[in-house]
Symmetry: D3
Subunit: 302 residues, 6 copies
């Protein structure tokens, strides 16, 4: 195993040649922790749905206290690391402190503030998710119960995690929101950037392949199917701060594999976009858009 | 952490405001258990393929007995919870009992009957999977062995779980079949509703983005590629009991990203549907369908 | 539980009827081990990014030695099983030995050689991944840091695993490369066959639904979006040894859901393929290809 | 394995022949849970001593809240089972309810009361343990620090668990106190019956083989060495309710392997009992007791 | 870490210098497995006592089948390794085969026979343990219930494991019986050699420090207290095959820390030996033996 | 659960009142880590004896490298915490640095030096243990093989851990040696202070209750039985630095429950001390010491 020893030596020496190694000071949020945090949030938001055994109803308060204390602790640790990362990336502490409500206590105090705000927000997030669940149940003829939605709908899982991740995005916590949304992307095939603004009663059916970009704005009662892209026309780094992704107004339905591109593109309220359409310009309210018939050749096999 | 304590209080109080909490009596099937059950079924069906160590051939009977007793126990528990859920949703016990062979012993006895039937069915399911495996090996030039199919083909994983989930669907066990199919959807990107009827020697290649709806009927020797949708034209809740998804006859091949919609749409036997086609009407047997050439603009970049 | 006992009996008896059971001699690589190996490789390649706790910088050498020794051991075991499988499939030992540098020591010695070579290769792979990371950061306006790329970009995960799996593919180790690429396919929805040849600075954005076939050749600085298929026109088993998948030259960008098929199809350097295009013939260098406008019907909803 | 199947059949049939099977209604406290509870109590009482990593001082409140909520939940469950067991053994519910403060809510409510009382007691128990720790440090010349006492003194572990178990004993909770004391007996070789009354500043050095009976009464500042027995003269079942074990007054030291027996035996304050003495009658205060010299034969080996 | 690398080199090189390394062929029984086996046996023998959750009574048969199949498998593996060890130690296979009922199938077949015999024996062992449990309950005034005996009496745990280990001892399986008895010695401080023959209704109270030698013979209704030694007078290797330890007839009680030595020493039926006695010669039936009074000096402390 | 909240509040407030909480700076060695370290050392010293599966002989070097790197890392961390503790207890860093070879790099560098020295010492420790193992095998007629000694002799486990712990004691590392010896005390009932000096070929049979004090000196070829105490006559804190425990010269055998006390007490070479003797003065070489006969009363039971 002499050759192995040499290779280890070479590897350790090469670590610093690339930006691929993190041994700058304070650590990064851990992917494993983010996944644990999302599982814990699922259990906190939906008691009785995720436990392996039965929910112990008599102990609901003890259980909730235990979970919430644990979660707060885990979140504070990961958020503190994220804020530390932001500072190492060049942001100033007092600038960040203003974001987090004027704290002067450094990363730790800022992290505590964010997490306390987050827990205050949770009942509102739960209220929004109740509407999403109703939208899913109404929107899918195959849904037999709302329990089925919670337990098995990938589109519902995606919006649960999005509404949580979006909170951290709005508080300018780096890394964590993206790690959260990527986690649920991995699980569901639905890729919602945590920056996207999504209104009430949102439903994605099937969902694999859906992409919703960072500056997308979505109204109420919108429904998407698998493979829908709400994307950008330009991907130039210089335009990172512009609105690059479309606006979808209230009550719009977009069928499978449709592509809507561009920050100025607005799909007017109540419109229906047919499957596989390719749209780069705005559509007036209450439109129906579909692919023109007659594009196929059908002939007998030789 | 006073603010945290208040938020916990608010959360516990808000639990009952939404339908998002399950603390009605008897519990729900657990997602974690369903995943364990599928892993155990994989090990039961394909001994020697999923064990981390080597299969202990001398002990095959002891191992199989141990696994099967364990699985039966886990399945009975989850099925019992599902039947209890059905009753709480308004179904009558004797109506369910008839479904499960006339048992008069309540949810538990009904669950035992279903699970015993399921174990009786397993050798037949294994026979069907042997044909699916052969179809995958024949259908993919890149496949070097049938072992490779079992160990690494997502399309094969999807049909394994579908054939298991479909059994529980036909016995009207709620929740469990959907949770099973959603589990494998999450793993493979292939979304087959457990209600779909699928014939022998079925193969999906690559598979990400495939959607097969609840009332789809698929014949023998059918082959699908990634992104194929077999979907509905209408998603009105009132039509939940109608046939909403297409019929694919024997020997049909459907290439990537094709979309076939509608409960009256029949793709005739032996037909080949080209990639990305969009079909909402029936296609006669032995047809070839493809996108008309000339739809693209090709020009030099400025 | 008499019925259960009978079903177990029937199952054990039926095991040998199908090719679905592996109790031939020497075992197969284990999926669980392959997943562990990939996690260990992630930790070896990117210290400080995947640990749940903070990286212990003082111990970097001890940690690297520990991880590398462990990994080598796990890899040797799995590679040995793979080579044993190849021999049971009919390959000759001396023929394999030549592949692995003329060893005469059987499967074990061959496995050790492959794994030692692999460790020698790791610094080169790391260098290539550093370029891929840069490409991802440059290519996505939403990327705020390279740390974000490592921690949360599915396209980066896919190329990490591909470059590792491709090494084993070139050394003709069966099963393992496919199991590796299928693992990351499951996680990301990106399906890259381990045989594909991919140049420097490669980036896939979003990625769900991407398929890259076995004989694909990709140049430098290529960028793909979700849903892109680089596939075959023919899937006849007889053509398994031919080049069946396209060649993508340097500097090409291919937008979402585009399909490029055929082993003779060459996308010339610097070309841009628009979203959803369907291409089965070569495209000259520096072309822009897009779907012709005017294919949609837009009208008011009734 | 036919013989095995028969043996299983025989075993299941024989279960009911003996009192060795518990399938009467409501379950028993679980030994594994009791062990977990003691570990959790150790961590709750001595933060910073038992954690594998460093104590996160900033989060001491969150951690304590999390641990205490968890512990309360576990304890309520086990205590509820114990009370249920007492009722099945023939005690009346209202009689038990009076014990637990007049509750009329059944086993569950009684269990909650006991556990709430227990948590109220914890600061007092902690105060007592602080004195025990000081006594150990003073009493052993080999002790270099009080941290060493907490981390490695079996005698200290034994008194920690005893003070906790004794609380439950005084509240007439069955089984749990004995299971707690047996757990620490197994770890340390020190067997203190949970009924024993033990005063402040108690120290046992080395400890293996110490036995302290149910009705023992021990004053303040008492010190014991390994192998000391404080036992009964009679072990007749009829005398179970009598004081059967000795009284040890304040300031007594008892050296290794001494045996003191009998419920009427009182070792007067300040006495010193030498190693291996055998005492069945009272000793006046401030006595020194030792084995008479001259009992040994010393001669050269042949 | 150069020095570490050198030390590792030196260690690996030194492995073969001493008999402390086992890399001869076939493996040894694993201590961890033996501990798992004992836990599994506890759960098999006493359903409802050791489970962390409640016993699922409806599934008692499924659970028992699962446990028994698992145990049989584990036991066969460990017993096979033990028999292999015996053969490497110089015993002949056919000689061993005769022991195990004339099998001609090698270690594996012999192991299967032993384990099948063991399972046949289990109901008898359970019957004996029921009597031991009764003896413990009768013999300790502090025992409030037989459940308490099962859950918390170290003397009962010791006899449970002894009766199991003794079976393997009588079948001349090497290593395993000693590993079993050492495991329970570690837990309870009670050291019973697996060769000892122990009659019905045996009880050890407290138990720490009890030693019972290999050739001890104990009758029915015998009761021992902590620290009792039933030992040898000579420990010469040449006498390994002789009866070296005493015989204790029916109905004898031996109090704490008594020492009885010698293979010819017989404690006659019904005798009572007082605490701390030292006996090397036989005692007639129905004797009482105790330490002569007057050996102590009691005087005031200066 | 209002009362619980109050109790938590009270507990957190009371933490600082006693010396029972460690939240001073740098952490303490963790008991769990010490136990892991001892397990790892067992596996490092005796390859093939402790693994649950079979030892992979081909990979002995890789395994040893992996284990040793891991152990070094764990040890450095715990030793660093111990040295930090010593400094907080008032020792000076440079004084400690001299102890550890003149290092000027702080706790971390000192810890590395100690651990590197420890690894250099391991082959010598292994050599000593080989002699201890031989002594055990020779000394117990019941021992059938040296493998049995390694796998199941508590006396052997105790000397293994002692020889390791003693190294750290000689290097003045605080806490860790005591935690190691207490761990094995808990397992075996044998309490050897890590400061004791013990010569070659040492054997303790059965062992429960053995106590060997801090300043004990033991020669070669010494054999002890269960319950032997090598203790102090005075336990005054002021005498902590004196020799308080006896000297046992080469070739001495001490039978069960003997007590030898005092720092000036020397048991001359080749002597045999009978069971239960009580010795506080020196015994000349080659003596036999036993309890005078005639101390017992034997009479018929009434």
């Amino acid at each position: 195993m002499r050759r192995l020893d040499k290779s280890i030596e070479a590897l350790v020496n090469s670590y610093d040649s690339y930006g691929l190694v993190n041994h700058s000071g304070g650590g990064l949020p851990s992917r494993e922790s983010i996944e644990d945090i999302i599982s814990s949030l699922d259990e906190l938001l939906f008691p009785g749905f995720w436990e392996k055994g039965e929910l112990d109803h008599h102990n609901l308060r003890l259980i909730t206290g235990e979970k919430a204390n644990h979660l707060a602790r885990e979140l504070i640790r990961e958020v503190e690391k994220s804020i530390g990362f932001a500072i190492r990336q060049g942001r100033k502490l007092d600038e960040i402190s203003r974001d987090y409500g004027g704290s002067h206590g450094g990363c730790r105090a800022a992290a505590e503030l964010v997490v306390e705000d987050f827990f205050e927000e949770i009942p509102k997030i739960l209220a929004a998710l109740a509407l999403d669940m109703e939208a899913a149940f109404r929107g899918d003829p195959a849904a037999k119960s709302t329990a089925e939605v919670i337990l098995s709908y990938p589109g519902f899982q995606a919006i649960v995690v999005h509404r949580l991740a979006h909170f951290f995005w709005t508080r300018q916590v780096p890394l964590i929101p993206r790690m959260m949304s990527e986690f649920v992307h991995s699980r569901t095939g639905i890729d919602i950037h945590p920056g996207a603004q999504i209104g009430e009663s949102f439903f994605i059916d099937h969902g694999t392949g859906v992409v919703i970009g960072e500056t997308t704005v979505i109204g109420k009662d919108v429904k998407l199917y698998q493979g829908v892209t709400l994307g950008a026309l330009s991907v130039r780094k210089e335009e990172a701060d512009k609105k690059r992704h479309p606006t979808i107004e209230d009550g719009v339905t977009i069928y499978a594999n449709a592509t809507i591109l561009g920050g100025q593109t607005v799909i007017g309220r109540g419109s229906i976009l047919g499957g596989s359409v390719w749209i780069t310009e705005s559509v007036p309210p209450d439109s129906t858009v579909y692919i023109r018939a007659g594009d196929l050749v059908i002939k007998p096999r030789k």
